[in-house]
Symmetry: C2
Subunit: 133 residues, 2 copies
DNA sequence: ATAATATCCTAGTAAAAAGGTAGGAATACT
DNA sequence: AGTATTCCTACCTTTTTACTAGGATATTAT
């Protein structure tokens, strides 16, 4: 139930991108690596996950880099964490085959807990974070 | 961010104890192992964690076993999970030394998320679970 | 007493997941 | 052409998880 480093770094990156959202140029991994203190190679992988979920968009080639797809107001912490944390899923049976393996007294519990966490995380935007919540 | 097997089994055990709360005899690990399908030796360890946090009480010797310390109404899912999941803590800096290592834009976020999850889990009692939530 | 039934305590181990490193191909700007 | 950048994927090391196992200790029943 601990957040992974991917989750922390991913959100960190998102915050950095939010800070620079106004500027026209995209932000390179190199820059992000310096800002966050994480290696470029590792950040690349993390950002790739965010791209896959359309949290960020990329521009290749020299002068390229990444931008948030939506504004810092529109981008939520939930979006970022779901993209990066391969499952924020709590327990397998929620979206897998639950054929008798799990005791479903608890199914409702996990389901509602999951919903609870996510709806909370979606109320918080990157802008909120920048402003100190 | 996925729940461990300890958490699932621990809650499962707690539910079994809740079912048998009315009966006067304590429930042995053997019985619980049969009910849950988990080995005795592994359950022992899990239950030990619950005992340490006073979720359950034990009676040693022949005819001994475990009981919930409080009623199924009073015992919450949060109590069980916190006892068993060594940290439901989400992120280290919350209760550790956060000397500059974490970037505290996010401190508030983790803190509030943690609080959010726990207060939710504490609204649900074992009795609620038994009744289908 | 002694045997039987339990909890309690601790060490070890195999498999999986996390966290990170590395190399190089593809793409776009100058 | 050359350089800066993303993109793709394979590999490795460390930590954590999920268990297994052995035996000590306590309580009850005979």
């Amino acid at each position: 139930m601990k957040l992974s480093s991917k989750a922390r770094y991913g959100l960190y990156v998102a915050v950095e991108l939010a800070k620079r959202y106004e500027q026209s140029e995209p932000v390179s991994v190199q820059t992000l690596a310096q800002a966050t203190g994480v290696t470029e190679k590792y950040l690349e992988q993390i950002i790739a996950l965010m791209k896959k979920q359309n949290v960020v968009v990329s521009l290749r080639g020299a002068g390229g880099g990444y931008r948030l797809r939506q504004t810092p107001e529109q981008t939520t912490v939930g979006q970022v964490l779901r993209a990066v944390e391969n499952d924020l899923q709590i327990v397998d049976c929620l979206h897998g085959e639950c054929s008798g393996k799990c005791n479903c007294v608890m199914f409702n519990l996990w389901d509602k807990l999951y919903e609870n966490i996510n709806s909370y995380l979606d109320t918080i935007s990157l802008k909120n974070l920048l402003e100190g919540l």
